[in-house]
Amino acid sequence: MSWGFLCDLLSGVNRYSTGVGRIWVAVMFLFRLLVYIVAAENIWKYEHDEFECNVKQPGCENVCFDHFFPVSHIRIWALQLIMVSTPSLLVVFHVAYRENREKHHNQQLHKSPRKIAGGLLCTYLISLLLKIGLEVVFLVLFYKLYNGFKVPQLVKCDINPCPNTVDCYISKPTEKMIFLYFLVATSCLCIVLNLSELGYLIFKHFTKCYLKRYTRKSQ
């Protein structure tokens, strides 16, 4: 069980998405998942080993690292990728439920069980809202936990058992900062894509309703 599972999930979701939804899946795959796996993971791989404090007191480094990095950037990034991908499962389940119902009743209940209309449209809109909400939550969490998206070169630590205020040095701060900004940029891009998809679906729905009403009136 690894990131391949998430890839299979996203590929499955692709079938029931709109055009913008497919662009969102492509951005998720290429600019977020792939970058995470081939580049970002390796930067944070030895973050604890390479975290160095200017003191020989045993335990001081551990305590300071734990204080400044309660949850590592890379773990929050991974959680974000997983959480943001899962609302799409709502749509997959709804389509499966529809297809199951048609099989059970042995008749065609919908024009096409995969067409984004009626109840499925509501599910799709809810999944989009959840995706947007989760993206924003994780960005705010990152910002609050680490006081912005900058990674300092040096942090000053005076927690017991450190004998006094010691200097602790973080490894590869610039590279980490570059990738964090990349994470923020791709998150914002995904939020924009989700918002435009939301707007497009709502607009399409209202246009269809208005045209139906207008045709009924003219008849």
Binding site: S2, W3, G4, L6, C7, G19, R22, I23, A26, F29, L30, F31, L33, L34, V35, I37, V38, A39, N42, I43, Y46, E50, E52, C53, N54, V55, Q153, L154, D167, C168, Y169, I170, S171, K172, P173, T174, E175, I178, F179
Partner: protein
């Protein structure tokens, strides 16, 4: 999920590429991605552990490493490869959109659509003309831009393509100017020059493909202009349009049998 997934995604685009495009894709996967994964990653694997500074001052090594390597060569190449591969997706999306339209026409029972079944539409290879030509050309243009930007960024960040053996560092908290030694500098220089050389070859291939597409476009235009079938003085606009449409349809039907021959 790794580079193999990128291979799966781009493999589909290969079918609709020109021959030069196919060569480019092969060079990308064999001489860049594969070399990165099997060799380069191991050369840079121990870069910070074996980066040694001639001082016992804690923190000096970290700060000096960060100063000289703001972003590692390996990560920069990985980003370059991802960015350079993505324009091909524009073509994949355009092809998918065309297929979707043709399937819709087929389902409606449109007489203009000359396919026997949906499988034929799925397997059909589209000719690079019309709007697909513009998408394809834009994707090559973006590829060129990304390649150049990354090569320049590399040159600018590392002052050339050579990896020095020794770097002098006096960033705080280093007590004075200390000597810092890079691990495997020669091997890293060799791989850097190799990757830059292959990037240059890819740029040349993209330029050649762009020239080829432009030449084909102008030749096709001059062929149409010199075609004796068209007499715009005697036909009205609608008939001219209808004739062009019929020609295009018959051309595309011929090509489903003959195939894209370039």
């Amino acid at each position: 999920m790794d580079w193999g997934a990128l291979h799966t995604i781009l493999g589909g685009v290969n079918k609709h590429s020109t021959s030069i495009g196919k060569i480019w894709l092969t060079v990308l996967f064999i001489f860049r991605i594969m070399i990165l994964v099997v060799a380069a990653e191991k050369v840079w694997g121990d870069e910070q552990d074996d980066f040694v500074c001639n001082t016992l001052q804690p923190g000096c090594k970290n700060v000096c490493y960060d100063h000289f390597f703001p972003i590692s060569h390996i990560r920069l190449w990985a980003l370059q490869l991802i960015f350079v591969s993505t324009p091909a997706l524009l073509v994949a999306m355009h092809v998918a959109y065309r297929r979707h339209e043709k399937k819709r026409q087929f389902r409606k029972g449109d007489q203009k659509c000359e396919y026997k079944d949906i499988e034929e539409i799925r397997k059909q290879r589209f000719r690079i003309e019309g709007s697909l030509w513009w998408t394809y050309t834009s994707s090559i243009f973006f590829r060129l831009v990304f390649e150049s930007v990354f090569m320049y960024a590399f040159y600018f960040m590392y002052d050339g393509f050579r990896m020095p053996r020794l770097m002098k560092c006096n960033a705080w908290p280093c007590p004075n100017t200390v000597d810092c030694f890079v691990s495997r500098p020669t091997e890293k220089t060799v791989f850097t020059i190799f990757m830059i050389a292959v990037s240059s070859i890819c740029i040349l291939l993209n330029v050649a493909e762009l020239c080829y597409l432009l030449t084909k476009f102008f030749l096709r235009r001059s062929k149409k202009a010199g075609n004796p079938k068209h007499h715009p003085n005697h036909e009205n606009k609608e008939e001219t349009k209808q004739n062009e449409m019929n020609e295009l349809i018959s051309d595309s039907c011929q090509n489903t049998v003959i195939g894209f021959s370039s």
